[in-house]
């Protein structure tokens, strides 16, 4: 593959994972994420990606995530991708993986919900991804790309974070970032080698046995385990926050959005800046850990926030937590697969009112 290509976000993500030396992929088809397994199936066995040794289509989303657990336990770079209804089914596995501290990449190309919803884009899984969709006190690192370029470059970041913290990492795309076609550059990257020798399941040869387990019947022992996980999450919160600030230095009004809606909001900022408005864009890239401190800093000069999402108001709750009542926070959402227009967002800024949802 050449370095510069024109392709879909889902395809770019697949190649990004291959270039980050993906070892094993477990697939279950679901629209609008299926180009990821389809691209990987085509490349499986190609000489260009000698590390890509396992591609297997499962019989269910549950089977796929548990296969990922088994492969990750083996210490290799494992991955699966799905879309919202499938992501719901993965929650059990994600809880176990967090408990066992297994590193892997799970991709959620979000579509309409709840229930079967539709196959059009929404961002309604924000709560599920960032607040823990499975049982127990655990966290998952969530990266939200907003372009095909980022779909291509985030798998490497995701694997690095997963192995650094021994934790599942999620790339949260949506049907737009998955289906969008854009010019993409694949820079030469050096995939990191990860040391898994202290925990991976490789057979107890010349070493003590390894036990990967999320269960401790003794309350004292389990409390210690959950506290250890919590300390790890706090370390992630201190060190791994990622965000994009665009023209926010003097901004009195902040537009905040993640993923595809941030692209529309950027245009709004450019339009209104040209008319003299002091407006900027704040885009969280890690949805967890969430950039609360940076949001708080913005309130030193910003007195109004407008959060734009493809749901009925989810990230807006985290913005409010960051703002701590020091500025007004409005919300504008679109659902069902509809996108807000620049004009709609501009109108909303110029006449802030009660939160509203248009359908």
């Amino acid at each position: 593959m050449t370095d510069r290509v024109y392709m879909k976000g889902n395809e770019a993500l697949a190649y990004g994972a291959l270039k980050a030396k993906l070892n094993a992929y477990f697939a279950y088809p679901i629209t609008p994420s299926s180009e990821i397994p389809e691209t990987l199936a085509r490349e499986f066995g190609s000489e260009e990606y000698p590390d890509f040794k396992v591609f297997l289509q499962s019989a269910s989303e549950l089977e796929a995530i548990n296969m990922v657990l088994g492969a990750a336990a083996g210490g290799v770079r494992a991955m699966t991708a799905t879309s919202s209804p499938g992501f719901s089914l993965k929650q059990e596995g994600l809880s176990y993986a967090a408990g066992m501290e297994l590193p892997f990449l799970v991709v959620n190309i979000m579509r309409g919900g709840p229930g079967l919803g539709n196959i059009a884009p929404e961002q309604g899984d924000y709560f599920q991804m960032t607040k823990g969709g499975g049982h127990g006190s655990y966290r998952m690192i969530v990266l939200a790309p907003n372009s095909v370029q980022e779909m291509a470059s985030f798998p490497k970041i995701a694997f690095d974070l997963a192995f650094k913290y021994r934790n599942p990492v999620c790339i949260a795309g949506d049907a737009f970032t998955g289906q969008l076609k854009e010019d993409t550059v694949f820079p030469k990257i050096e995939a990191t080698e990860y040391d898994v020798s202290s925990w991976a399941i490789t057979g107890a040869r010349g070493r003590e046995r390894h036990v990967l387990n999320s269960m401790n019947l003794d309350p004292e022992v389990h409390a210690k385990h959950v506290t250890h996980l919590d300390e790890k999450y706090k370390c992630v919160e201190r060190n791994e926050v990622r965000y994009e600030s665009y023209l926010t230095d003097d901004a009195e009004v902040i537009l905040s959005a993640f993923g595809i809606t941030s692209r529309i909001c950027k245009s709004v900022v450019n339009n209104l800046r040209s008319q003299g408005s002091k407006i900027g864009l704040f885009r969280p890239i890690t949805l967890w850990p969430f950039p609360y401190d940076e949001v708080k800093k913005l309130t030193e000069h910003a007195n109004h926030f407008l959060v734009v999402e493809l749901n009925t108001g989810q990230m807006v709750e985290d913005i409010r937590l960051g703002v701590e009542g020091k500025a007004g926070v409005d919300f504008f959402g679109k659902v069902g697969g509809l996108l807000p227009t620049e004009r709609e967002i501009e109108d909303k800024i110029q006449s802030p009112a009660e939160e509203e949802i248009s359908d």
Binding site: N23, A24, F26, K53, V54, L56, S58, A59, S60, L62, E63, N66, M67, V68, L69, G70, A71, A72, A73, G74, V76, A78, E92, G93, Y96, M100, I201, T202, G203, A204, R205, G206, R209, H210, V211, L212, N213, S214, M215, L217
Partner: protein, 271 residues
């Protein structure tokens, strides 16, 4: 002069201490066949010299604490998903011998898809099913293998198969799948025998089970999916004395679940 704790090592050797077992006493109820299965698996692993390349996927149920007892690598699986985890591990580490120990509820209710698909793919792993016709760990509810009319906490008036469906025959199901290579049903319950000197106990069932477990590992090493169903008792939840429960296995359970070889595609039993 210092006093030293007397070493237990010579006694352990005499009793046949197995490297594949840890020193931890098991939590299994007195008389439960889970302990026997644990030891039989450990001895099969040692006989085949595969301890350093074997990984167990622990399920949910009475076998959930097996990682404390077998001195090999372990992954503790969500309920029913052990064959999927085994598949993922085996695909990325094909040099490993990977097996699961699962109960009847784990394998045949919540995890039926996972075990069926491991068999459908002919995944070279070994699945050991402990069938005691009841959910043991959760306190005696109806299992897929609960007998017709059997009283459990969720069938307090006896299992009505018009209402619940009939007991599931795992060996029939799995032997019908093209991908499976070895499917066998054994009993882990010792039986009483009359001898000229009075009543005694036969371990014939145990010896047969031991052979079946070794065969299952051998079939996996030859590249096939192997499945051994082990009929067991659960006197606590059946509310029977221990030996009566074992008698129930060998006299009643075997009528619904006949012992024997259901499939042996590689002819391992003839070798």
């Amino acid at each position: 002069m210092t006093t030293q704790e007397p070493s237990l090592e010579p006694y352990r050797k005499k009793l046949g201490r197995l490297d594949a077992l840890t020193d931890k006493p098991t939590h299994y109820c007195q008389g439960c066949e889970h302990g026997e299965l644990t030891r039989l698996i450990a001895s099969a692993i040692e006989n085949l010299g595969i301890r350093e390349r074997t990984a167990m996927i622990d399920s949910v149920g009475c076998s959930v604490l097996a990682f404390d007892y077998l001195n090999i690598d372990h992954i503790q699986s969500p309920h029913g998903r052990a064959p999927a985890i085994a598949t993922g591990l085996k695909r990325v580490r094909p040099e490993l011998v990977v097996y699961t120990v699962q109960g009847d509820g784990d394998t045949l209710a919540i995890g039926l898809l996972e075990v069926m698909y491991a068999a459908i793919r002919g995944q070279p792993i070994s699945v050991f099913l402990v069938n005691n016709a009841i959910y043991g760990m959760t306190g005696g509810q109806m299992a897929p293998t609960t007998l017709k009319g059997q009283i459990t906490t969720t069938t307090p008036y006896g299992r009505d198969i018009e209402f619940t469906g009939a007991p599931v025959d795992a060996c029939k199901l799995l032997s019908a799948i093209d991908g499976s290579a070895y499917v066998k049903r054994v009993s882990l319950a010792i039986s009483e025998v009359e001898t000229p000197r009075g009543k005694s106990y036969s371990i014939k069932n145990i010896l047969e089970a031991k052979q079946a477990i070794e065969n299952a590992f051998k079939v996996q090493l030859m590249g096939g999916f192997s499945f051994v169903e082990c009929l067991s008792s659960c006197w606590v939840n059946w509310k029977l004395p221990i030996m009566e429960a074992k008698r129930f296995v060998n006299e009643q359970l075997v009528k619904q679940y006949p012992l024997g070889t259901y499939k042996d595609r590689f002819g391992i039993e003839k070798k």
